[in-house]
Symmetry: C2
DNA sequence: GTCTATAGTTTGATAGAC
DNA sequence: GTCTATCAAACTATAGAC
């Protein structure tokens, strides 16, 4: 694995644990095993690193959604996999979604980073809306309502569930918060 | 208003905009109009300030819930007021709940602050569960399920809705995310 | 209670040798 | 690509005068 990737992995990890304002180049240097100054060779400024982080996160996320679509036919199976993805990303209550972590510190981000963040959210919502449209056709989700409303509600639910689970450092809080939605699936 | 209260107001404001790691005594000093060092007289350390913030936030929140109970009889009216409270607290997309903001930076908090945070969440969940129990009796919320599940789901929904609204700086995103739940109310 | 002054650390970032 | 050395700025916090 090249250094740049290694740094991105480490930065994503620590950013999702502490937020954008909660980590420094010193943290990365310590964990990756090079000096602070060397990181600036890969990412001249922290703002550059933030943009790179969100970009990679967005494309990884998009791929994951594509895999879900290939793997599952039913809307209910796809949505269950979606929720499960956020559950797994929690790492037992230690991390949250990068998007959520960065949203709190949005005033520290550059315009470019904010645009990337917005694009990420847009992609998520589009996929969810599309999937709830499918749900209305295949009937796999009980009393399914307006796709756009369902999409926004589920996104808020999984992000909020991560947040409360992070607050208590307990995955079970995520499970409790998502149980109601999952009970609508077969 | 005494200085301590003034400082708490200012700190709560900026903490809810930037998170715990995103504000400093310098920010407060600038806005309140005294020197950095003077703040240490009121709050010896930032950790003390954090605890005071959560304590006050929790009691204010508890009072607000009590007022809702006095004002409304129906569970549906109470829950609508609850959601509306989180909407108002958003300040147009500029701030989120203190609990949510602090959850992201939980690793920077002391054990005492974490305990207070936990108590806050516990109180919220208790009130919600109690209110959903009422809903099951007065029938004002459509297809109401297990109170504990409903409570956890709604807490996650409003916190997640704040987060996505903060990400985009748009209240309308909060509205879209909470629309589905509100449609279950008369 | 608030001030000045300052300590000691950490931050993001740059210059230049290798 | 990574290093040492260094910078200016910001950070939390303390001592002591008023």
């Amino acid at each position: 694995m090249d250094r740049r990737t290694e740094l991105l992995n480490c930065a994503e990890n620590v950013a999702r644990r502490h937020g954008y304002d909660g980590f420094s180049y010193a943290d990365l240097a310590k964990e990756v095993g090079i000096r602070k100054a060397s990181i600036h060779y890969h990412f001249p400024s922290k703002a550059d690193l933030a943009v790179a982080l969100i970009e990679r996160y967005a494309s990884t996320h998009a791929e994951a959604l594509a895999v879900i679509d290939e793997t599952s036919e039913l809307a209910s199976d796809r949505l269950a996999a979606y929720v499960q993805g956020y559950r797994k990303a929690l790492s037992g209550g230690a991390k949250i979604c990068l998007c959520a972590a960065f949203s709190v510190s949005r005033d520290s981000l550059t315009d470019e980073a904010l645009r990337e963040l917005d694009a990420f959210r847009g992609n998520s919502l589009n996929w969810l809306e599309k999937t709830f449209q499918l749900a209305n056709k295949d009937g796999s989700v009980s009393h399914s309502a307006e796709p756009a409303e369902e999409a926004a509600a589920l996104l808020a639910t999984v992000e909020g569930a991560q947040l409360v689970a992070r607050a208590a450092n307990k995955v079970s809080d995520f499970d409790q918060a998502t149980k109601l939605f999952l009970s609508r699936l077969p």
